[in-house]
């Protein structure tokens, strides 16, 4: 049994130690907001926060996540999360929406740390999150809008 702290709740899972956290969340715990896109940390759809740091859950063995605070899209809260989700909604960022959980997780971490990100900062923080619909222009605008909310 592996003990995990997910969104503030203690969970126990009986899975192989090398099973990626992504599949524990999706298949064992039915938390499907975190998405599978590539399985090799190249698209960011599976991004969660581990101790506040955006992390690709598809290459994170569940064992490595034990003893950490895991946050998924279902459990985000606080000023940065609210600012990011509100900006996403205000600007109608989503198209197919499949990558957006991961985009939002990366964006929350960015604006929590940097309340005035430049275009280069946004490129650096968000380039690991692929959007095949190419909603990038709106993501950039929404990140800036969320950062503005953070500054206010």
């Amino acid at each position: 049994m592996i003990r995990l702290n997910i969104n503030g709740q203690e969970r126990e899972v009986d899975v192989p130690a090398d099973m990626p956290l992504l599949w524990v969340l999706r298949d064992e715990l039915n938390m499907t907001g975190t998405k599978f896109g590539c399985g090799i940390a190249q698209c960011g759809a599976c991004t969660v926060h581990i101790d506040g740091t955006p992390t690709r859950s598809c290459v994170t063995p569940v064992e490595a996540a034990a003893g950490t605070a895991i946050t998924t899209i279902e459990g985000v809260q606080g000023k940065a999360a609210q600012a990011v989700q509100a900006a996403w909604q205000k600007m109608d960022v989503v198209q197919c929406g499949y990558c957006q959980s991961g985009q939002i997780m990366s964006a929350i971490a960015l604006v929590a740390e940097n309340q005035n990100p430049s275009d280069e900062d946004i490129d650096a923080a968000m380039d690991g999150n692929v959007c095949r619909c190419a909603t990038y222009q709106r993501i950039r605008a929404a990140v800036k809008d969320a950062a503005k909310t953070m500054r206010a």
Partner: protein, 734 residues
């Protein structure tokens, strides 16, 4: 063109089911006979005729609940293009609803109620959804409104003509009575459906064309609650992955599954004609189990060439005349007499769709011998027949639950329902539990159904005054219709119309035009890919036009405008884009621009791209100005989003993407080698729409064709080098 293909696909599947062949031959004919002879072309789109049934069917499309919500049943798949929002807007407008009360729900699979009138079956594609639903949903909304008004008139004993409806509230001013839709809904549903309705005057629209409406999915897709097919969790379900031949056309020769069966969580391994299915408790176990398989493949009928050899073979074919796709005047004679002649050979690679949500579907057999499917279903009409063919049941015994799809770009719509057929085939072999078939990204990138590899050769010339006098174009590439039973229908005199669309119907004034086509064959599977034939024909045409403009000593915009005098809508978007991009003003140092203009799927789009070059002469796309004429704009922000996304799609693939084969095996495996466009690649995209009250046409695909050639033309303007081989990275331009 796409809709014609799909019509044929529907017929094909009916005809193809071997056990019920004789019965279904008739079925196929019926399907064909019921189809409306509609092409999504501007001339039809502008016409007054009704698309679809002529009587209002509010009960099929509108559900008003006591809680005052209005739910629109959406027969098209929303894979990000925003159609759920678009169709709900059309209903809400005629209903005079409040946008806040609108909801959307994917309609069940039911060909009688929900056929795409351009296909004859239920399905989404070819940027047809809005055009197709425009009449039936305006009628449904207006009829529902009339039924609410009639209910209120009876309840209040007042004349219906004195009743007004505004933002979801039905009012009678004189008696100061009012009621919400929810309060009237139950009785209104019992009212007779009016035989005829009157549409609103577009001048009074408050929701259609409104820039402030939010998408219906703008919240559920930002908090993780939107349900995609991959999120389906049926009680007791198992996950399956399928080992498929690494070479196209290969089949299973022998399997050693001992190690796979020992992987924790693996439940069963089943060898099927389509591959080896590993069934497991969860996705990870299934993937691990597949990795532990040892499969020997029979490659005797497989493609063993590499793409280099295929291109060489195409080149040899291009030396010879092909089947005639267009012939006007005498191109050869005109070219012989031209003042200047430009020749070019274009190569377009295979391209994968790679939607963010990998292909997947859950199939559960039902007690009556049918099945229930959960998928981001794009071709419900095809998939019902395909599943029925696998199970030997009737199509109506196949219940399809359509969920949000994480992108498609054409991939989820196949004439043979490929991944749905796989899921049902595995479920049939493992009937104990619902089976969730999941493709990995590697399955997707290496799994075929690509935009075909194409080679174009063009020779075109201008006279001494700088006018194009002749254009001779040869196109070589696969047809995704070839090898199917409906090849005789779709491939007319050796020409697949989807391979030459955008070329054979040249919009520019070209007095002598010859376009011909060589249909090539390979076990590599191919498919329509966002904007279909226009993905390559628009590029070849628009890059060539810039080379000809240069040869003629003319400005690229003026050169195009001169030749579009008979095409006012193309000319309109060209002028609008040029004006908004300030084409006539010089650019800052280090910036270069290019233009492209193209019609596809009944919509007209112009792109002006601005680029800069780094010290290695590599392209950075800085800004793209897009102008579109798609008739009446339903949701301006959705149109804008589709132009942004379509432009990104076109440019992203042109920069770096290609699928190549070595000895028949695909070289790329995942997003590390098939590199998607990322944030830092995305230009600023500005979108301008031509005001119009003509029938709305699609926007999902038309933003794609002109994007890449506009960038290539900017590079040509900067360097004098025309980019004829895609992706640009191959020429060192990226």
């Amino acid at each position: 063109m796409l809709h014609n293909l799909i019509k044929q696909a529907a017929a094909d599947i009916a005809v193809a089911a071997p056990s019920r062949r004789s019965v279904l031959m008739g079925g196929g004919a019926l399907v064909l006979g019921a189809m409306l002879p509609i092409r999504v072309r501007a001339e039809d789109a502008a016409g007054p005729k009704i698309v679809g049934p002529t009587d209002p069917r509010p009960h099929a499309f509108v559900r008003i609940a006591a809680d005052n919500t209005v739910t629109v049943l959406v027969k098209h798949l929303d894979k990000g293009q925003g159609i759920m929002t678009g169709l709900a807007t059309i209903v809400a407008e005629e209903l005079d609803a409040d946008w806040a009360q609108m909801r959307g729900e994917f309609a069940p699979a039911n060909g009688e109620l929900y056929a795409n009138h351009m296909f004859g079956i239920q399905g989404t594609g070819g940027s047809t959804a809005v055009t197709n639903s425009w009449d039936e949903l305006r009628m449904a909304g207006a009829a529902a409104r009339a039924m609410l008004v009639a209910t209120a008139a009876q309840r209040w004993s007042v004349p219906a003509a004195e009743i007004t409806v505004e933002k979801g509230v039905v009012k009678h001013a004189k008696s100061a009575k009012s009621a919400t839709f929810g309060e009237l809904a139950e009785d209104a549903a019992k009212q007779p459906v009016p035989a005829k309705v009157t549409y609103k005057d577009p001048a009074s629209y408050s929701l259609i064309g409104n820039t402030a409406l939010h998408r219906l999915d703008h919240i559920s897709k930002t908090n993780g609650t939107a349900q995609f097919a991959l999120d389906v969790r049926r009680p007791g379900q198992v996950t399956a992955v399928l080992a498929r031949s690494p070479r196209f056309g290969g089949t299973v020769k022998s399997v050693d599954d001992k190690a796979a069966r020992q992987v924790a969580g693996v439940i069963d391994v089943i060898t099927l004609p389509i591959g080896v299915a590993v069934i497991a408790k969860n996705t990870w176990a299934a993937m691990q189990g597949r990795q532990a398989l040892t499969v020997e493949w029979d490659d005797s009928k497989a493609e063993k060439r590499g793409t280099e050899q295929m291109i060489a073979d195409y080149r040899a074919l291009a030396d010879k005349p092909g089947a005639k796709a267009a012939a006007k005047g005498d191109a050869a004679k005109a070219l012989a007499g031209a003042a200047k002649v430009v020749e070019a050979e274009f190569v377009f690679p295979y391209l994968a769709h790679a939607p963010m949500e990998p292909l997947n579907a859950t199939a559960q057999l039902t007690q009556d011998g049918g099945c229930e499917i959960w998928a981001g279903s794009q071709f419900q009409g095809v998939e019902q027949k395909v599943a029925a063919g696998v199970l030997g049941c009737k199509p109506e015994q196949v219940k399809i639950n359509t969920l949000w799809a994480g992108g498609s770009f054409g991939r989820r719509a196949t004439p043979d329902g490929d991944y749905i057929a796989e899921a049902v085939t595995i479920a049939k072999a493992y009937p104990k539990a619902p089976v969730h078939l999941v493709w990995t990204r590697e399955d997707d990138i290496q799994g075929g159904r690509y935009r075909p590899l194409f080679l174009h050769r063009i020779k075109a010339g201008v006279d001494a005054s700088g006018k194009i006098v002749g254009w001779d174009q040869r196109i070589v590439g696969q047809s995704f219709m070839a090898g199917t039973l409906f090849e005789p229908f779709m491939v007319k005199d050796g020409v697949d119309s989807t391979a030459v669309e955008g070329a054979s119907d040249m919009a520019y004034t070209v007095p002598n035009l010859a376009v011909d086509y060589h249909l090539t064959k390979s076990p590599v599977t191919t498919l329509w890919w966002r904007s279909v034939g226009h993905t390559h024909t628009a590029y070849a045409k628009e890059v060539m036009i810039d080379q000809l403009a240069k040869a003629a000593g003319k400005d690229p915009v003026a050169f195009r405008a001169d030749m579009l005098q008979d095409h006012p809508r193309l000319l309109g978007v060209l002028k609008l884009a040029a004006e908004k991009a300030e084409w006539s003003k010089p650019l800052p140092q280090g910036r270069f621009r290019g233009v492209a203009v193209h019609e596809s799927f009944g919509s007209f789009v112009a792109h002006v791209a601005e680029i800069s070059l780094n010290e290695r002469q590599q392209i950075k796309v800085e800004r793209v100005v897009v102008a579109i004429d798609c008739g009446q704009v339903i949701n301006p922000d959705v149109v804008k989003a589709q132009m942004e996304g379509g432009t990104g799609w076109g440019i992203g693939h042109a920069l770096r993407d290609q699928i190549t084969l070595t000895d028949g095996v695909v070289d790329q495996t995942n997003f590390d080698s098939y590199e998607p466009m990322r944030m830092s690649d995305m230009p600023v995209v500005e979108v301008h729409m031509v005001p119009s009250t003509l029938r709305p046409t699609g926007v999902g695909e038309p933003g794609v064709p002109g994007a890449a050639p506009a960038v290539a033309n900017a590079y040509f303007s900067a360097t004098g080098k025309a980019l004829h081989v895609l992706p640009f990275a191959g020429a060192g331009a990226v």
